[in-house]
């Protein structure tokens, strides 16, 4: 092999860089996301239940929001009948965020952890959060 030492040195440098994120974070546990549901509106609810079950919302909320958007905006159907038969008005800003008024501790908590950057907030106005909260 010609220039073996150059190639090996290059390989070592490459591996050092490529594996840097792994060994630099080794042994350090990143805090698990811990979304909070303790907003004033939710605390006053007798039955603390979103439009669908917790498990469904956790896994499918992005799909549900897309469907809600298309139903309300494109088809003009602004009422949603959940699987338990309850009817909710479709509005992200006026319905979802009425209960989930804690964007930082509800939305951003997991989105930051998963490094997803949904563009909801480019247009939709985030609820005002009290300064002393959290």
């Amino acid at each position: 092999m010609y220039d073996a030492w150059k190639i090996l040195l290059g390989l070592i440098i490459f591996l050092a860089f490529a594996t840097f994120p792994f060994y630099s974070n080794m042994g350090k546990a990143v805090a698990k996301p811990d979304p909070k549901l303790d907003t004033p509106v939710i605390q006053q609810m007798k039955v603390k239940q979103c439009v669908e079950s917790k498990e469904f919302m956790r896994a499918e909320h992005m799909q549900l929001l897309n469907n809600w958007r298309d139903a309300a905006l494109r088809r003009g159907e602004r009422l949603y009948k959940g699987s338990d038969g309850r009817i909710t008005e479709i509005s992200f800003q006026n319905q979802c965020l009425r209960c989930h008024s804690n964007k930082k501790k509800f939305c951003d908590e997991c989105h930051s952890y998963a490094d997803v950057k949904p563009y909801c907030w480019d247009c939709h106005i985030a609820p005002k959060e009290a300064k002393n909260e959290h």
Partner: protein, 263 residues
């Protein structure tokens, strides 16, 4: 083991049929899901929403600004303070500019100087919808030309297609330029086109457009397909104009000019 050309084609034919059938199955699944959504029974419905602008009722500056201000406030329309970046849902212009082919020197004095109230014409044959490459702008079943800002890619074909200048582009982030934010309505973002939406969000709640409510009878809103509606009654009694009707876009906004009190 080999397969003859004839047998291979037979097999391929049968398998493609199978694929076709499994696809129809998917269609059925989607249809079942749509039962979960419905329109509000409170909402106002029509086959074709239309507006009549009775310019005789617009006398002072305040008559115009009242209508514009309420719309721009509730829809979070920004004010950049310069014409180049201007974003507008309702605006005004001179008679000569609004009805270029109707102008002549001998028109009654009040008409020459009269400003017209302008908004999206919600055309029955909207050119903006035809050119939109993403179907971000579309015509609803009730005739309203709506805009889905989620889909808008900011190509501005619709602005080039609209003969009325009803569409504005957000060259900059509009948020900092909104004087009083209405927390119940979204803002827009940099890079999307926006325009009047005939207050679809209010119609869904059973309310007439905000501008109509504050216009003191200057703006009349109703269903053009219903002969008993207020707009049809007014149009059958008064001579009205539409902007650039010769272009064939069939605007749904009608203007009653009237130089005199009872013209």
């Amino acid at each position: 083991m080999s397969i003859s050309r004839r047998d291979f084609l037979k097999l391929a034919g049968i398998s493609s049929l199978g694929i076709g059938f499994s696809a129809t199955d998917l269609l059925w699944e989607n249809r079942a899901e749509a039962i979960d959504y419905m329109s509000s029974p409170k909402g106002l419905t029509a086959k074709r929403w239309a507006m009549v602008v009775d310019l005789r009722k617009f006398k002072t500056e305040e008559d115009y600004s009242r209508v514009i201000d309420i719309c721009h406030h509730i829809h979070n329309v920004p004010d950049f303070g310069n014409l180049k970046d201007e974003v507008k849902w309702i605006w005004t212009d001179t008679f000569e500019h609004v009805f270029p082919f109707q102008k002549n020197e001998y028109l009654p004095e009040g008409v020459q100087e009269k400003k017209a109230v302008l908004f999206c014409n919600h055309c029955d044959n909207p050119p903006c919808v035809r050119v939109c490459p993403t179907q971000a702008t579309f015509k609803r079943k009730d005739g309203i030309v709506a805009q889905d800002y989620h889909r808008c890619i900011g190509c501005r074909f619709c602005m080039a297609a609209c003969p009325f200048g009803s569409r504005s582009f957000n060259w900059r982030d509009p948020r900092p330029f909104i004087k009083r934010l209405n927390p119940e309505f979204p803002t827009r973002t940099k890079g999307v086109v926006e325009k009047c939406n005939f207050c679809v969000e209010r119609l869904a709640k059973g309310l007439k457009p905000a501008c109509v409510e504050v216009s003191n009878g200057g703006l009349i809103f109703g269903d053009l397909s219903d002969p008993e509606s207020e707009v049809r009654k007014i149009l059958s009694k008064h001579y009205s104009l539409r902007r650039k009707a010769e272009l064939g876009t069939r605007p749904s906004v009608f203007y009653i000019i009237g130089g005199d009190e009872d013209a």
